[in-house]
């Protein structure tokens, strides 16, 4: 098993979800996060002061997958989330030893 973690731009989420669905990904876990990197934040103005917001909103996707699918899924995310502009995000893959479906207790492949 592998865990694919992707950090992407919020407005790309819909496209990525659809692409993964088409590929056959049955489930994923998503969260709203803040990104820090080359892409700079914006400036806000409040009575007599300006503030630089260092962070930019990102969407974080976690997908547990079969070893075999990992590369394809990384490829799909990179393809669909890409805008070519700074801040498109990162995708990384890490090992998972076992995964269980809470509802049934099924393990690994059959748990996905």
């Amino acid at each position: 098993m592998k865990l694919v973690t992707a950090v992407i731009k919020p407005h790309k989420w819909e496209d990525v979800r659809e692409a993964l669905e088409t590929f056959g990904v049955a489930g994923m876990t998503v969260s709203e996060v803040s990104g820090y990197g080359r892409q700079k934040g914006h400036t806000e103005v409040y009575r007599g002061a300006e503030y630089d917001i260092a962070l930019v909103p990102k969407i974080r996707i976690e997908i547990v997958v079969d070893d075999a699918d990992a590369d394809d899924i990384v490829g799909i995310v990179v393809k669909t989330a890409q805008t070519g502009r700074i801040g498109d995000g990162k995708v990384w893959v890490s090992p998972v030893e076992t995964v269980v479906r809470v509802r049934t207790g099924e393990q690994d492949a059959s748990a996905l």
Partner: protein
Amino acid sequence: MDGYYAFMLVATAFVLMMTVPALALFYGGMSRSKSVLNMMMMSYVAAAIVGILYVAVGWSMGFGGDGTFFANPFELLWLDGVTTDTYIGVMFQMTFAIITAALISGAVADRLKFSAWVVFVPLWSLIVYFPMAHMVFSCTEDSLICGRIGAQDYAGGTAVHINAGIAALVLVLLLGKRIGWPREQMRPHNLTLTMLGAGLLWMGWYGFNVGSIVFAGEEGEAFTERFMSETGRTFANTTLATMAAILGWLLVERLIHKKATSLGAASGIVAGLVAITPAAGAVNLSGAVAIGLVAGGVCAWAVGLKYKLGYDDSLDVVGVHLVGGVVGTVLIGVFSTAEGAGGVDGLLYGGGFGSLADQTLGVVVAVVYSGILTAVIAVAIKYTMGLRLDEEDEVNGIDLVAHGESAYDLHSGTSGGGSSVLAASTAPATTTSKTEGASA
């Protein structure tokens, strides 16, 4: 004369504003965010339903003649024969009918079927409120509470607050506790709304109490003098009692919980206003402060009772309106002065126990009448269409289930610029198709 009339135009708008949006905000803020819209909707639809019903038969049942419990419902049906230059009096009374029904909604948060509310409200107004308004406000010879018992109730301690409070208690006993109550925390989801609501209620209440002046046919000078002296008294009493109640509530809270809360301040405002409602014309400044202090302190303690006795009066309609209403109505028997609107001296001013007895009897009648008939209505609904939401719907939240909405979608704001993708991701196809259907 036209000055008084001008004030009544504003006062009536104020009292309507007490329900829409003030009470809805006060209650909505205390609800959980998955049921705030339903809580507000209960007030808004109550306004629509009761308002129209009041014009249809409510006014006639209240003021269409004499009677112990109510007047002839058909005498002034749909304001037949009422001239438009007296419409404002009808509208003013209508706003009282509206808020009384709406007050009940605070007790049934999260779990009452919306359809059940839509059926309960008109039935309850017809069977419970309209008669109660006759008994108290028409003050005809035979009218039970005012005419016969002779209990003082300036603006509705019995007809409005005790009435709504006891109805709320009966309803929650038949409805049962929310899933997880009291084990699970069910804290207010947005206290700024509750504070806002309390503030608007306070402003509106000047329409409620001060606008409740009744003239004895004075004219010219005498009319103006009466207008100024009595409204001066009721305005000042309403103000001081509320301030004293805030302090009373916060003090007791400080003692019990070691914290003075904003929810306590907001609740203290309402408790004080409730308690001074019946007494606004009867007492002097010191009486007003005393009633406010007692009401604030007693209610602050009373809202804890539900945990002891185990009834889920979700937003404390019983603890604030029933208890506060009783405190104010009964204490008239103690603090009333002969210079007041009622012209009766209370216990403290040498009037003996007479007034105290009348006031207590008035309370008992209100509790019994409203309690029994509310039970009848609620039972009827419970065993026909049912009162209660399914368990799963209650967990998912009534806003979603009954209204297909959720109150907030704030992500893009907090994350500064992103659009709320997660809360909002939709299956486009469906959207469009459904939409087509929608606009078809």
